[in-house]
Symmetry: C2
Subunit: 321 residues, 2 copies
DNA sequence: TTGTAAGCGTTATCAA
DNA sequence: TTGATAACGCTTACAA
């Protein structure tokens, strides 16, 4: 691949001048030489080395989004938001999946730092009593020292501007809605143990006067399991709110398979309002994932951000009465 | 952040020596100095600049996976495969989502090339009569010249080793199975128009003696729409095979909502065997997505690959009789 | 076993 | 308006 010095030679112009025309610098260049450089670049198929550029400018046009699980549409929605605004300005948004836990997160963070990423966005929640919390905090600090903007889109145990919605309030509001509609006995299917987000949603549920709570997770199967447990217990609650949509759909499906009428016999609600919720007409709460992604990208472009909490909204559909 | 020269100064040792101990070079270094360097690095919190390293070695430890849509579990499965083997060897796998079509693909490809990515894997299929096909082919060529290994995991219109399964055969086999089970009138819900993959699956269906075919897509809603169309036509076929699982699930759901018994009245099958297929017990065909991802990563580590076609397998469950 | 120095491909400072 | 040239942080001959 042609480099600046190739162009320089080909066009009979200094490297500095070539650089100036090829990267749209403000420095004035005569129209004549500009054309010659452009022509040479065209002929030689010049493409700048982002590597070399990043090395000297100390920042590359990479935005890394560290997600908990790449198959989770929750994260996909965020990633799309980031990409939507990043792409406009020539940033490359890359999503790094850390399914293996915070060890993997740490690995991705370090690599992103080592590549001087312009932005590092943590899309997922931190874990309570995370053994690698300290190492993570240090690496975050290092990354910032290298010039990366680090953002948290959920509660984390390190210093970073946050772009959030209120998980506790979201869980509270849907539960309160159900109570308002006359449901007395409401069961909450919890999220994965140890995630801050799980705890927040659980707290919101409890604060709204929810009664029982059973272990769950964030996956469809967890919802099925929870429904089975409820079914086996012999007596169903008036309503079930699940830690997220996918679990709610698991519950819903299992219940209906077992001949339980939803919402006539029991109401079922989720949280997140992702695509699958539309498929089944699930009552849930809409959270601003895409907008969070957009704002995160803006924050890295603007090189910083204020903490912000974005609004959520109930999406009442037909799995609750 | 500390750099090599900081370490060098702090340890009273040349930069070259520091480099040698810090990057595990084969060049011999005395145990004593090695320790001093390590100690200095530790104290100063040294982290190498992947950028600088990549600039001189002409290859960075980045594997880019260009997918068609980051929310599609099809791609997620591939990405996981890549990541699984890439992570072991310290490669950073980043997925770039090109929902906006091949213009976006081109953008990602160029960026990955500009960052001297070690590997660039195209997870999704190319489009027939793609206007940016030529630009794409050129950029692929450039990337290869810069040392990137470029791989295709579906049919593409540029030169690259392929790691595939046989889409046509997959569609053929599931259709043939249905015929063997005595279904005569079989309808195929097509994939998105213009994708090579769609055409291949359609061809397989036809070759197996499938009769009718109606437009569809790759999304749940497309399946619903197709079911509606079938329902409206007044007469249902014996079986329906959809271009992928998600569409099949859309068909299935809509049909059942309309009171049609599946599989008693009509059989429904998909292709891909992704997670949702398990949720509903969908008959489908398992394709080796994860393995393709793994092989792709291996190929970049080994700096090249032979073309290979991986086997698929029928997964007969309970939406067909 | 250690060090010197020449790149890698840019950008940016300073003169001309 | 243009051009030398010194960084950026690292690897790697080549010398010592």
């Amino acid at each position: 691949m042609a480099s600046l010095s190739d162009i320089s030679r080909h066009a009979g112009v200094s490297i500095a001048t070539c650089s100036r025309v090829l990267n749209g610098s403000a420095h004035p260049v005569s129209e004549a030489t500009r054309r010659r450089v452009l022509k040479a670049a065209e002929e030689l198929g010049y493409a700048p080395s982002a590597l070399a550029r990043a090395l000297v400018t100390r920042s590359s046009r990479i935005i890394g989004v560290i997600v908990g699980d790449i198959v989770d549409p929750y994260f996909a929605e965020i990633a799309r938001g980031v990409e939507a605004v990043g792409a406009e300005l020539g940033y490359l948004t890359m999503v790094c999946s850390a399914e293996l836990g915070s060890e993997a997160e740490l690995g991705h963070l370090r690599q992103l730092r080592d590549y001087h990423a312009a932005g590092i966005v943590f899309a997922g929640s931190g874990r309570v009593d995370d053994p690698s919390a300290e190492a993570l905090a240090t690496a975050v600090e290092d990354a910032r020292n290298r010039g990366s903007v680090v953002l948290a889109l959920a509660q984390r145990d390190f210093e970073a501007p946050t772009i959030l919605f209120d998980n506790e309030a979201a869980a509270h509001d849907i539960t309160a809605h159900l109570r308002d509609r006359g449901h007395d006995r409401i069961t909450f299917v919890e999220g994965p143990a140890g995630l801050h987000t799980s705890a927040q949603r659980r707290n919101g549920f409890l604060r709204a006067g929810g009664t029982d709570t059973i272990p769950g997770g964030f996956a469809y199967e967890d919802g099925c399991a929870a429904a089975n447990q409820l079914l086996a217990s012999g007596t169903l609650p008036d309503a079930i709110v699940a830690a997220n949509d996918e679990v709610a759909i698991g519950v819903l499906t299992r219940l209906r398979d077992a001949g339980v009428k939803v919402p006539e016999d029991v109401s079922v609600a989720g949280i997140d309002d992702l695509r699958p919720a539309h498929f089944v007409g699930l009552t849930t709460v809409s959270v601003p994932l895409h907008e969070m992604g957009r704002r995160a990208a803006q924050a890295v472009l603007e090189n910083g951000a204020q903490d912000v909490v974005l609004p959520h909204a109930l999406a009442i559909r037909n799995t609750t009465r």
